[in-house]
Structure formats: C-alpha cells, structure tokens
Amino acid sequence: MPRILRYLFLLACGVAVVLGFLIHAKHPLFRWEIIPAFDAAFGFLGCILIVLISKMLGKYWLQKDEDYYDD
C-alpha cells in the first residue's frame, strides 16, 4: 500500500474512534452501547476471533485435499 494511503487509513480509524467518544446512542438498548468505541473493539477482536476459530476448524477438521471426493 502506498504510504499516503496507509496514513489516510490510520487517520480514518482514529477519527472514527474519537467520534465514538463524542456521539452517544440516544436510547441505548444494551449495556455495551454506553461504552465508547465499543464497535471498534468488537470489530477488531471479532475479526481476529473469526479468523482464528475458522482456521483452527479448517486445519484440524474441515479442510481436505482437492481430490477428496474423486474416488
């Protein structure tokens, strides 16, 4: 990635997180909606969680050779 894009991307992340502290839900439905920047944390950790769990499932159970069904 060109360096300028990288900086812009990080800037956007920063702005989104900072805005998360400034803008609050009008009628919070769940407790976590009061936590500032909850969505950011959820996005980051959720992504890592999905990748790790899926890769583990794949490696130890689901992934097979491409000719698995050809017999």
Partner: protein, 586 residues
C-alpha cells in the same frame, strides 16, 4: 377493478418458449431484454391489492395473482434482476441457457404471486427443474455431478413440501396459502421444504456445492431467485417462529466461517449468500413489523449486490478461465481490469453495509429489530457476521483476485487479461448504480415495504458505529493479510453425508448384489443337478459308484428292460409258490 393482464410467470415462460423461433441474433437479444421489461410494466400496472388470475381446476381454485405490497416488492426486484441478468448474458448464443433462465425466473415469480398451495408447489418444482440446467450447461464433470446433487436435494425438499401440503389441505380443507399454524406435522413438513430452499444449515450444502459449478451467466441468475423466493414464502407462512431466529443467526455466522477457508472465488461468495439469507430468516423469525420490513428490504438489496458480486467474479472467470484464489493472487490484475474491480467494490461495500450503499439501509434494519426486541445474543451474532462479511467479500476476495502476493517459493507470470465485454460492464454498472441509489435514498425502497417504516438508518450513532466496526476489521485484516491467502484445499460440509454416504450406499449395494449373484448361482446349480438326475435317475445313481466318467444319456426304457424269459420265469416261480401254499393248506 383489477386490470386483467397476464401473470408475470406466464410472460417469462411464454417468452422463453418463443425465443427459439426468432432467427436474427439482434432480435433475440432485444427479445431477452423486452420480456423482463414487459413483466415489470405488467406489475406496475397492478396498482391495487387483491387477487386476480384465478382459475378453477379439478375442484380447486388456482390463484396466480395474490397482489399485495409484500408480493409486489419481491416481484419488482425479480423483474429488475431478470433484466440485469439478461444484459449480462447477452453474449450467450445457446437458446437453451436463456430458456432455462426464463423458466427459472418465471417460476420464481409464479411462487411469489401464488395465492394457493397447489400453484405454489407446481412453480416450486418448475423452479428446481429449470434452474439445474443453468448448472449443467457448464458441461463438465463437476457441473454434472453438482447438478445431480442439486436436483436430488430440491426434489427431496419438494416431496416434503407436497406431503405437507396434502396433509394440510386434507385437515383444514383449504388450499389457501397464508400464515400456517406452526406445530402440526403438516406445518413442519412445509417448513422443512421451505428451509431447504432457503439453504438453512444443515440443509444448505446444495447451494455452496452447485452455484460455483454453474455457467458464468447462470450463477448470476441462481444467486437471486431460489433462496429469496424461499425467504418470501417463509415471510408469508411462518412469521414469528422462534426456531427461525436462531437458525438465521447461526446461519449468518456459519457462512462466514466457511468463507474463511474457501479458495474458489464463487464458492466463497456462495457461502456469503448463506450468511446474508441468515439475516432474512432471522428477521422472519423475529416477526415484528420492523423485522419483516427488514427481511424484505434486505432480500431486495441482497439480490442486487450479490448479483453484482457474482458478475464481478464471473467476469474474472470469463476473462482468465481461472476460478481459485491460489491461481489468481499475485497476477496484478488490478492494472488490467480497473473498471471491473471498481464495480465489484461497489457490491462489496454494499454487502458490508458501508454507509451510502444499500446494505447499510437494509441489514441494519434487521439488526435493529433484534435490538428492539432486546435479543443480545442474536444482536451480537448478526454483528459478528457483518465483520466476517466485510473481511471476506470486501477485503480478502478483492485483495486475492486483483492484488495479492505470489505464494512463497513460486514465481508467477502475468496472464493475459482485459476488461470483460462491454455488455457485462454495462450490466455491472447498472447494478452498481441501483446499489448506490437505493443506499443514498432509502425511502425509494422503504415506500415499497409491507408495513410503514419508522426506522432511520442515517443517524450519527449508526454511521460512526458502522465505520468503527468496518475500519477496525480492515485493520485486523491488514495484520493477517499474508495468512488469509487461498489454500489449495476444499472444505467438507454437510454435503459430506450424502456424497460420502452415497458412496458407502453404493458399496453396500454392490456387496448386496454380489450376495444375490452368489445365491442365484447356487440355486441354478441345484436346479441343474435336479434336471440331470431326473433325466436319467438310474444312470446317475450308477455313476456315483463307477470309476469311469460316463456321459449321461437320456433315459431309454429298452436299456433296462429285461428279456421276456425273465418275466415267464418269475411267473413260473410265483405259480410254484402258489401251488405249494395251496397243497399244504388243504
């Protein structure tokens, strides 16, 4: 009063049948675009709600037109999609492919407007039987096998549906298709028939198995109609069934997990159909006005952006002939196909619910409906699926196809590639345009929905929350980018049970057949033996005691007949004995 035009299903089916009669290529192409446009105008002409096109048949009323906001909403998007798909498929010369597509679209519209269960069932089966040809026209071994499996699953689902319908009609005495009370045997059978078409796990494997094997243009049609018509009938018949809430939420995450492992680009997208239909099924289960609205509008938006994504992936396959990430990454295709990449990204942003794209105005409505009912686990599961969706369709797939690093230890030549043909780009462009317009002006869609909409997607809190979610997902992807490339593997799914199971069954059948042959051979030997013995019992008994091997001759009475003197002798002896007895007696 309703205007009596033709049911849209008939327009497509008749239009398809007339297609082979047209000779000139240009005329054919015009006809392909004219039919969806005509069907769309036909629907626009139906302003009022009610039933029309009712035919009396064998003591039942067949209703081909049950018109209300819900059926019209699906009807509109089906016609729009038919038009876009036909533009994309203009280069296809085989009439058969177009014919299959026309029948498929027509029957999906037939399902949408069916007012009674019998009509519904008939169109349901036509849909399965016509769509399979979109797979078989690919004409390779994988497509043939996948098509057969696809057909078997759908015919099985259709049989369950028919069984349910028969029980339902015989117990209630009504063929009307409306809300079905959940709980009885008939309702369970009908529900099972529906969720097989909606690709709800564990009955989903036909989708990820068959769609990637279809023709380049066929897969674009397939993404739109089967699962969405199933969502429509679920909304009709089973709103508020709690089971569907959980099935939908699990389904949304299930598709995402498999997408992590997938290497085939269209199969990756197919798993995301399962994931996205999960939102709709969940919305049906939640059953509130907002949730039903959410499912309907999400189906509408999903048809558009998923078609766009499949068009993008199919264009890559059309141009390069390659369909796996491991074959594509590191070839720098972004330099050669920038327009295709940009249009694909519109679809990717839409499915990921980036603000100003149409996924944002639909997906968030289902999630908000879960929030409104205070269902924290469902809410978080759907949120999690959103992350996975952006991770794969928005980041991993475009990165792998157009950019990507060459796998370690290999050098990779750049391949011949250029933008796809103009009509494909036009189809993608029009779809992308609709994705953005409906995203920027959500009221266009909200006005079509079955219930009045009180949901406002563009609030600062929603927008910032979604941006945080997506940007930080992208950050995490950035960290993992090197580990997320394709791997040359396939992933086993619930189709394992019938693909391996069928093998086992066949092996069992062969064993059974061998045993049968054994018994048959034994029995025929016994019979042959009895035949030999009964032909000449004396000689066969004699041959048991003789050393020489004798040829068995047919029984000849003369061989064993004694001379006449022997008979006289016996008579004389008997006479003597008689005389002796007489002499001593008296």
């Amino acid at each position: 009063m309703m205007i009596s035009t033709a049911p849209p299903a008939f327009i497509f089916i008749l239009g398809g049948l007339l297609l082979p009669l047209l000779r000139a290529r240009r005329l054919k192409q015009a006809w392909l675009l004219f039919i969806p446009a005509l069907a769309f105008v036909d629907l626009i002409a139906l302003q009022s709600s009610g039933t029309c096109w009712t035919y009396h048949f064998l003591g039942y009323n067949l209703v081909f037109g049950r018109i209300d906001t819900l059926s019209l909403c699906f009807g509109y998007v089906f016609c729009i999609m038919a038009f876009l798909g036909m533009v994309y498929a203009l280069h296809v010369k085989e009439d058969g492919q177009h014919l299959a597509a026309m029948f498929y679209i027509g029957s999906a519209l037939g399902v949408t407007f069916a007012g009674d269960l019998l009509t519904l069932f008939v169109f349901w089966e036509i849909m399965a039987a016509s769509s399979v040809f979109l797979i078989w026209y690919q004409r390779d071994k994988a497509a043939l096998g996948a098509g057969f499996r696809y057909l078997m699953v759908h015919l099985f689902g259709g049989s369950l549906l028919l069984a349910g319908i028969i029980i339902h009609v015989s117990t209630t005495g009504s063929t009307q298709f409306g809300v079905i009370d959940y709980g009885s045997l008939s309702s369970l059978l009908i529900l099972l028939g529906f969720i097989i078409n909606a690709a709800v796990p564990p009955f989903h494997a036909w989708l990820s198995d068959a769609y990637p094997e279809a023709t380049v243009t066929g897969s674009v049609f397939l993404t739109a109609f089967t699962t969405k018509s199933a969502v429509y009938v679920l909304i009709r018949a089973f709103p508020g069934v709690e089971l569907l809430v959980w099935m939908g939420a699990i389904m949304a995450v299930y598709g995402v997990v498999y997408a992590v492992l997938e290497n085939d680009i269209r199969r990756l997208l197919a798993y995301h159909i399962i994931s996205q239909v999960g939102y709709m099924v969940c919305g049906v289960g939640l059953g509130t006005e907002m949730a039903i609205n959410g499912s309907t509008v999400h189906a509408f938006c999903h048809i558009l952006y998923k078609a766009l994504l499949f068009m993008g992936a199919a264009s890559i396959i059309h141009v390069t002939g390659k369909r796996k990430l491991t074959e594509l990454q590191g070839r720098n295709l972004y330099k050669k196909m920038p327009i295709c990449l940009s249009l694909y990204m519109v679809g990717a942003f839409s499915i990921s619910a980036v603000p100003l794209f149409n996924g944002f105005i639909s997906k968030t409505m289902v999630v908000a409906a879960a929030g409104e009912l205070h269902r924290p686990i469902i809410y978080l599961l759907l949120h999690l699926a959103s992350i996975g969706t952006f991770l794969h369709t928005g980041l991993k797939l475009p990165y792998g196809i157009w950019f990507g690093k060459t796998p370690e230890g290999t050098t990779r030549r750049e391949i011949e590639a250029k933008e796809p043909p103009l009509h494909m780009l036009i189809a993608m462009g029009m779809t992308a345009f609709l994705c953005i317009v409906t995203g920027v002006f959500p009221q266009i869609l909200y006005n079509l929905l079955p219930y009045p909409v009180h949901y406002q997607p563009y609030t600062p809190y929603h927008i910032v929350g979604m941006l945080q979610l997506l940007l930080l997902t992208a950050t995490a992807f950035w960290l993992f980018a090197n580990k997320l490339g394709g791997e040359p593997t396939i992933s086993i799914d619930t189709d394992w049970f019938y693909r391996k199971g069928a093998g086992l069954l066949m092996r069992y059948c062969y064993r059974l057949d061998e045993a049968r042959t054994g018994i048959q051979v034994f029995a025929s030997r016994v019979v042959a033996g009895v035949v030999v013995v009964s032909k000449n019992p004396i000689q066969s008994v004699q041959s048991l005691f003789s050393r020489e091997k004798s040829v068995l001759l047919p029984y000849n009475a003369d061989t064993y007949r004694p001379a006449i003197g022997v008979g006289v002798m016996v008579l004389l002896v008997l006479f003597c004995i008689f005389c002796v007895i007489l002499f001593f007696r008296f």
